[in-house]
Symmetry: C2
Subunit: 337 residues, 2 copies
DNA sequence: TTGAAAGCGCTAACAC
DNA sequence: GTGTTAGCGCTTTCAA
């Protein structure tokens, strides 16, 4: 593979001159530069990014730590959308992305900081990490520039992007209340997620606002899983048939709840209203189409990359980016009869 | 950031010894090794992969060239699934993945080979590239180890993974024929894809096998797009109401066809049978659930990584990997009335 | 405008 | 077992 040395030899100049010529420095004779450029093209020279990074101490690379990169993650297109957003922004800024490979088994061998330092990534975007992931503490402790999706971490070198989950869930509750519902249950995810807590807060606030009481037995955890939510909802709706609406913390769980209702012979939305959260692709394709709080995952990814690069450039920007959400009313919610 | 030099100084040995100790060579005194390892841990040393790669001429990195990494690609979870499969295999083999950023605008500035050589990736996996993409020729010409998904390229350094698309489509046709259909149309994708040609071949063969004639006017192109397919199908079914079944080259297009049928007041599957291809997540969630030819994208990604690493290790394995497909009979196909 | 030389952090002959 | 030395391909003082 051709190096600047080869070019230097062929052009009869020093490597210094070649380096300068190719990097667009002004103090190079026009003719020399031209000759060097020609030779470079001819011998198909491409700069060795490794060598350059080594000496410049900059890699133009950012790391991606993705927890949901598993077979299951395909159903909600969230991870994918975020990735696309990141990719879009980084592409424009000439940054490359490296996907860190972090199976749980591997986490024991290598710490987060090791992972980052080895590859000398300039910063990291973290997605889908749970509150109890050992890496999270490390992210806190290390001072590697980092942006998290939906996990609140703020520091000199870290920030996060999220949506207003409290408000998002309130929108869902309000909608249900407007439709006359009073016996509203909530299917939350699990406790290891920041967003779960926020969404629950939104539920409480929404109910409070409407003068409705929150019944503890009507709050369940579906582990963000369709199957689990279905199971739990079956139980819930059997025990408390007076429930007329269920707000869910994810679309997948909402799908599970709808299924449970069907199992019990309760038509959605006529005999049960259900709302989701996320607006995954499935939400609008399924029958009945899900009423849900839409999050723009692409924009979140895009914003995350933007924020990270700002941090890298030492810009003193706000460390948190809030992306808007929006209630999409479709066919799983209806007036209480 | 700590280097082996630092360790060497602290341990009072040479950098060579440190290097050897940390890399598990046998010719290091046990005590020396222990001391070195302790110091390394203490000062939080992590090896600089850049420096190592530079001298070893091996990066343990493979490049990913993904065309469908766009907002649209989220609907079919194909890209994501393949990525997951690749990630899974590479993780186990300690390879990292770098996502090449290739917006079309950027392709003009940087050639494929440049992209790869700059980052010194050991090999590349290419997904979603169209026949008319300028990069494809470059992939041919360069001798960078490469594995393509669904594009037949075979050489010393290149291979591909695909499914038997001819057979896959024949399965769909056979199924329809068994249900008594004779007036079968095909909604193909576009001409820039290898798989389109194969699937069309399968259609012809399937029809031939059943003693049915292929009518040219009944073959259309939906550009692998839901909307376009719907548009085209509307036209087709209006002009030729005698058509009782449509086989599609993708699920998304099948969805479009179903929609077109609905528009025309024709119930699927009662008054029109439709088959898809891919078995994307939507396929089984939509109502009616799509009868489709399932491809295991995860396995394809996994196999691609496996094949690429084999090529890298100079193994003289077969350059093509064929993954099985399977007809999933669901609710968009029914006996002709 | 150009070149010599040093050095980024690491590995690997080779010598001791 | 351990150290010396050279060198991977590049950028960057500093001097000419």
């Amino acid at each position: 593979m051709a190096t600047i040395k080869d070019i230097a030899k062929l052009a009869g100049v020093s490597v210094t001159t070649v380096s300068r010529a190719l990097n667009g420095y002004s103090d190079v004779n026009a003719k020399t530069r031209k000759r060097i450029e020609e030779i470079a093209k001819e011998i198909e020279y491409s700069p060795n990014a490794l060598a350059r990074s080594l000496v410049m101490n900059k890699t133009k690379t950012i790391g991606l730590l993705v927890s949901g990169l598993s077979r299951e993650g395909a159903k909600d297109n969230i991870v994918f959308d975020v990735l696309t957003g990141i990719n879009e922004y980084c592409g424009a800024e000439e940054y490359d992305l490296v996907l860190f490979n972090t199976t749980t088994s591997k986490q024991k061998e290598k710490t987060y900081a090791q992972l980052c330092r080895e590859r000398r990534v300039e910063g990291v975007i973290v997605q889908g990490i749970k509150n109890d992931d050992p890496y999270l503490q490390e992210i806190f402790d290390s001072n590697i520039p980092c942006v998290l999706i939906d996990v609140p971490v703020e520091s000199e070198t870290a920030g996060y992007v999220t949506t207003d989950n409290v408000d998002g869930l309130m929108k869902a509750v309000r909608h249900l209340v407007e439709l006359g519902h009073e016996n509203i249950a909530m299917m939350n995810g699990h406790d290891q997620a920041f967003v779960s807590k926020e969404r629950f807060k939104g539920f409480e606030l929404g109910m409070l606002e409407a003068g409705l009481s929150v019944r503890k037995e009507w709050i369940c955890n579906g582990e963000y899983s369709e199957r689990k939510a279905q199971e739990v909802a079956l139980q819930l709706l059997t025990t408390y048939p007076e429930i007329t609406a269920v707000v869910c913390a994810s679309d997948l769980m909402a799908l599970g709840v709808v299924r449970a209702a069907e199992e019990l012979g309760r038509k959605v939305p006529d005999q049960l209203s259900v709302t989701g959260y996320d607006d995954i692709t499935l939400a609008s394709y399924v029958t009945p189409a899900l009423t849900t709080v839409a999050q723009d995952w692409f924009r979140m990814g895009y914003a995350a990359a933007d924020l990270l690069l700002s941090i890298l450039q030492q810009k003193s920007v706000d460390r948190v980016r809030l992306i808007e959400n929006e209630l999409k009313i479709r066919n799983t919610t209806k007036e209480r009869v």
